[in-house]
Amino acid sequence: MNPRLPNSFRSGPDERGHFGNFGGRFVAETLMPLILDLEKAYAVAKADPAFHAEMNGYLKDYVGRPSPLYLAERLTEHLGGAKIYLKREELNHTGSHKVNNVLGQIMVARRMGKKRIIAETGAGQHGVATATLCARFGLECVVYMGAVDVARQAPNVFRMEMLGAKVVPVQSGTRTLKDAMNEALRDWVTNVHNTFYCIGTVAGPHPYPMMVRDFQSVIGEETRKQMQEAEGRLPDSLIACIGGGSNAMGLFHPFLDDPSVEIFGVEAAGHGLTQLHAASIAGGRPGVLHGNRTYLLMDDDGQIQDAHSISAGLDYPGIGPEHSWLHETGRVTYLSATDDEALAAFMLLSRLEGIPPALESAHAIAKVAELAPKRSKDHLMVVNLSGRGDKDIPQITEILKGRKQ
């Protein structure tokens, strides 16, 4: 199963953007020169202490970092096993982890002299974060969002417009996140001279998966330090939900070379893995889409299949390439949670801790509820609470109303 384990799980990707067999740069020629420019600009920024100093300043005073590592006492007591800590990314400005990455990319865009920013969004969290930072830095912002998602994530659409962004509802294909990404790529091909594509997850052509991971790794780095302060040692397990997988990669990456730390990613199993779902690793196989090779949901002809998840942010038929590699090497275990499990977890955390999680993060909570009771009381479990549930309240109200009838 694991033919060639690397010396380190943290050294990838190679210079061509490969994590093992995954990743790469599968894009149209029009975009290739810009992607090479971006790779250079990011390498220069990464090596520049002034870039990090400026970013850290904004992370502290604008985003509100560090986000707390909070011991969920009542959830721990209720489940009767592992000691559960929540990494409170939902307390960041804009309400999710997405802002960590957007801040980094906007700073790179500014260094490259780009004045127009485009983004794709599913749940709207990445769109809101992008609209927010574009407002802060006076940049033009266009957000592509599937028409289905525009309907089910209305509060975030209003927020983006209020922040001055133009939200374009995407009517092509399945009208969800993958189509929003197609449309953003079409915009980028057309406006390549002045436009920076701010990708919201650890996917797309190299250097995006690496760059987004680097910007999100602040989550795991803080967790390491905070757990050391709270318990004097490393956590025993980490859990995070995965659509493209940026909040998960941010939490996981700093711990990949600590073999004592068990790591779990949670995909969206939708109606169940034998029906419509969005679990690319559980139900897909390697293919090429949106600039990278990775696990994808597709048919025998290589046509991309519709994903389904109750959560717009996980409703994507692919996953970041580094996750595909971590799956194949066996370093990370990928599980899945259904729509119903996520809804139940949403209620559980709301009632026990007074914290309504985003439906995305609720998938991770669902697996905490399954795994924690099987662990001993001195087991330290960290779950990434990647976003807040406020945006989901209208949708959940509708679902619960429908069930009562």
Partner: protein
């Protein structure tokens, strides 16, 4: 290695004219009609035929070609059936070059080696794969060249002189210059800019240069044919096909003729060009 593409350009050079290159989606709106359309193209005046391989997520295509792909997929088109269509065409025509154009994933899933073998046997001459830049040449380009197929690369306005040699290195058959930064079916480039770009590419290669994106009319095809070795027309043909369908999106008795007639007038435009590019 000489392919039908090389032979065709050699013949056209003798005639002193440029090529009309046509694009249509395989299986649009159904496999049988699509084969009939492709069979009608050489007689109507197409010199080189590009056949789109339908894909659910065509990232570089505009609404017309996206819709054509979805019509074809809805009609049950697959990569296997596209190759069958090529075999059907080759029963009657052994000289018109056929180029398959599309995205990598269906080929990757079919299996690269099996695809190249089957494509060569079916009578395919070249491939244009939009999402395989030179940085990914090991995937399909090098194996395709070894299998005796041309690998036709796209060059764009963002491909500068520094990058052109890398783009041209493993290109064969012809170079496809995308005249605008944008998706298929978008606005056309002006012919002066196209002429400059073609001249720039020709400083780096002896291969023929064909120009596409935004060419819709015989006049536009003629203007491009004066600057380049070929004019590629896709969206306009796909639109003519679409306009001939019934309200349920099915082919009508007018469908084949609608495409062939437009190809005929485009061919007149190309043949009326004052002189072909050197």
């Amino acid at each position: 290695m000489t392919t039908r593409i090389d032979a065709r350009f050699a013949d056209l050079a003798k005639e002193g004219r440029s090529a009309l290159v046509t694009f249509l989606m395989a299986g649009d709106p159904d496999p049988a009609t699509s084969l009939n359309i492709i069979k009608a193209l050489p007689k109507a005046g197409a010199d080189i035929i590009e056949i789109g391989m339908p894909f659910t997520d065509p990232m570089a295509d505009g609404p017309s070609i996206q819709a054509a792909g979805l019509r074809a997929l809805k009609g049950g088109m697959t990569l296997r059936k596209t190759l069958e269509m090529v075999r059907g065409f080759r029963k009657e025509d052994d000289s018109t070059p056929l180029v398959l154009m599309g995205y990598y994933n269906p080929i990757y899933i079919y299996g690269v080696d099996k695809f190249l073998t089957d494509a060569k046997v079916a009578g395919v001459d070249g491939l244009i794969i939009v999402d395989l830049p030179p940085e990914e040449d090991d995937e399909l380009c090098i194996p395709a060249l070894k299998a005796g197929l041309n690998f036709i690369r796209l060059a764009t306005p963002t491909t500068d002189d520094k990058r052109l040699p890398a783009v041209l290195a493993n290109t064969s058959g012809f170079v496809y210059y995308v005249s605008i930064t944008g998706i298929t079916g978008a606005a056309a480039a002006d012919s002066k800019a196209v002429g400059d770009a073609v001249a720039r590419i020709k400083r780096h290669t002896k291969l023929p240069v064909c120009v596409g994106f935004g060419i819709r009319t015989p006049q536009a095809a003629r203007a491009i044919a004066e600057k380049a070795n070929g004019a590629v027309v896709g969206t306009a043909l796909v639109d003519a096909l679409r306009d001939s369908l019934d309200t349920q999106g099915r082919a009508t008795t007018k469908t084949v003729a609608a495409v062939a007639d437009l190809v005929g007038s485009l061919a007149q435009g190309v043949r009326g060009a004052k002189q072909a590019a050197e």
